[in-house]
């Protein structure tokens, strides 16, 4: 086979090296195609051990090899996968050793309607795996916070809705409003910084509402950024998220201690109605008085039983024991006390008479006394009880003696009565 005669071979065959040719190709390509946006589908994505990633970008007509260096790969807000439609920003480079050209990626982002959904799902999966959403991390809100922080935009209805609801429910709780940008460039960073700042600067805040009113998925996007989730996660102050409407779920919602459906709902969650709290306190107060009252009733029924020789509410044996103990005490005091405390003994005798009279009187008027007791319960004091016939015996260290086994013969005792004290010494003890 012979070559056609008209083929334009140069007269002289002056060759250049492969290297020279490649250098010319390289110069031609790299000078003419600087940075470009390229749309295509990722295939054959291969992360290397070095941290660099390699893949092919293709469409129906062609394909190009791509290199994604480690620092760029680490900065991406999503994880590239085979089959994903992307926009790549980069420059063409000729790799001389292999005689290949490739696209050096400087930035990469998902393309099309699913792009934000991809970023959302991927970040959600990542943070969930790290435990940022664990139910065990969620903290309960205090019944009534000492102070409330609000991180939101100064414009828009969300802030006014929250303030109106908070102040109408409980106007005594201080509110601190930290204005931030909630959408657009830098919004996520501002929100995150505000959460961090309040944690450092405002130790009295017991709860923080972070949120904004409704909007498109792009408007709400700041609340889907990792930096906001990290700030919520690190917050010492419990956080209520209130982003958009009931149907909007953001990464911030998953990370927060409590997700509110709307800003108004958040306000309702952080403070109860003051009137309801006051009602509850009234109930607690009544319960407290009733509890003391029934304890006092029990004591009085024992005394009444002793005086009348009938056990009104208590088994008779208990009453007899009590009566005997009182008699015995009286007797022992008479024997044990020397001249120096004769006056004290007189006082005791006097007290005993008065108490007996009172009891006799009281026995006839049990009902009236119950009423009067109820009326005076708030003012009741240990002194008043002593007036009704009790005494308190203490050891020298001040500990109340409740059992014979708490004392030893020879030990000094102090007995407190309504009008003073008696100091005595234990002769012997008898256990029943």
């Amino acid at each position: 086979m012979s070559l056609p005669a008209e083929l334009p071979f140069p007269a002289e065959r002056r060759a250049i090296s492969v290297g020279d040719l490649t250098r010319r190709i390289k110069k031609l390509l790299e000078d003419n195609i600087r940075y470009v946006w390229v749309a295509g589908e990722i295939s054959n994505f291969r992360p290397a051990a070095s941290g660099h990633c390699y893949f092919t970008l293709k469409d129906e007509e062609a394909q190009i090899g791509c290199a994604l260096w480690k620092p760029i790969a680490a900065r991406l807000r999503f994880r590239p996968e085979d089959g994903m439609d992307v926009l790549a920003w980069g420059r063409v480079e000729v790799y001389a050793p292999h005689g290949k050209y490739q696209l050096i990626i400087e930035d990469l982002e998902p393309r099309g309607a699913g792009a934000l959904a991809i970023r959302f799902e991927q970040l959600k999966a990542k943070l969930e795996a790290e435990g940022l959403f664990d139910a065990g991390r969620k903290r309960a809100l205090p019944l009534l916070p000492r102070a409330i922080g609000i991180v939101t935009s100064p414009v828009g209805a969300a802030l006014q809705d929250m303030l109106r609801t908070l102040t109408s429910r409980c106007p005594t709780v201080p509110i601190y409003f930290y204005p931030v940008k909630v959408q657009g460039e830098g919004a996520a960073e501002e929100i995150a910084a505000a959460i961090g700042h309040l944690n450092l600067a405002m130790p009295d805040l017991d709860v923080l509402i972070v949120g904004r009113g409704g909007g498109s998925i792009e408007d709400l996007w700041a609340f889907n950024e990792e930096v906001v989730a990290r700030a919520i996660h690190a917050s010492r102050i419990p956080i209520v998220s209130a982003v958009g409407h009931e149907t909007d779920f953001t990464i911030a919602d998953f990370t927060a201690d409590i997700r509110a459906l709307t800003p108004t709902d958040a306000a309702m969650k952080v403070v109860p109605k003051r009137a309801e709290l006051i009602e509850m306190l009234d109930r607690c107060g009544a319960q407290l008085r009733r509890a003391l009252e029934s304890r006092a009733e029990l004591a009085r029924s024992i005394l009444d039983g002793h005086r009348n020789g009938h056990a009104l509410r208590e088994p008779q044996a208990v009453v007899r024991r009590l009566a005997q103990r009182l008699d015995e005490l009286h007797e022992r005091l008479s024997v044990a006390l020397g001249g120096a405390v004769a006056a004290a003994r007189e006082r005791l005798a006097h007290w005993w008479r008065t108490a007996s009279n009172e009891l006799a009187h009281a026995g006839r008027a049990t009902r009236e006394r119950a009423e009067s007791l109820r009326r005076h319960l708030q003012a009741v004091s240990p002194l008043a009880v002593l007036n009704r016939g009790y005494s308190i015996t203490r050891a020298e260290d001040g500990g109340v003696i409740r059992s014979t086994s708490a004392v030893k013969p020879g030990q000094f005792l102090r007995t407190t009565l309504a009008d003073g004290e008696i100091r005595s010494r234990v002769e012997e003890r008898e256990k029943k």
């Binding site: 019944l143 409980c170 201080p174 409003f177 917050s235 709290l277 607690c284 107060g285 407290l288």
Partner: protein
């Protein structure tokens, strides 16, 4: 990690309320002596009064936090924009 997330301890409304509830429980148990019952009742009453005091404090002004040049937060009284200025702004934004 968890200790970093615990709010600082300082008596709050619910701490006082808890004291009241515990007092009621202790009194109702019937295990306390008369003298101790009275002491507990009085302590419970003080805690209850503290709860009322918190709820009866004066109404609080809303504060807006403003960051100054060196980054410290200053609180100032917050004035809600009234309906007119808000609708005016909305109008301005739509133009």
């Amino acid at each position: 990690m968890n200790s970093d997330r615990t709010p600082p301890k300082k008596a709050r409304f619910e701490d006082y309320l808890k004291q009241v509830e515990e007092t009621v429980k202790a009194l109702e148990s019937g295990k306390l002596g008369l003298e101790e019952s009275l002491e507990r009742f009085q302590a419970g009453k003080i805690a209850l009064d503290e709860c009322y005091r918190i709820l009866q404090e004066a109404e609080k002004k809303i504060q807006i936090l403003v960051k100054d040049k060196d980054g410290t937060l200053n609180a100032a009284a917050y004035e809600a924009p009234n309906a007119e200025t808000r609708s005016a702004r909305r109008k301005a934004e739509s133009l």
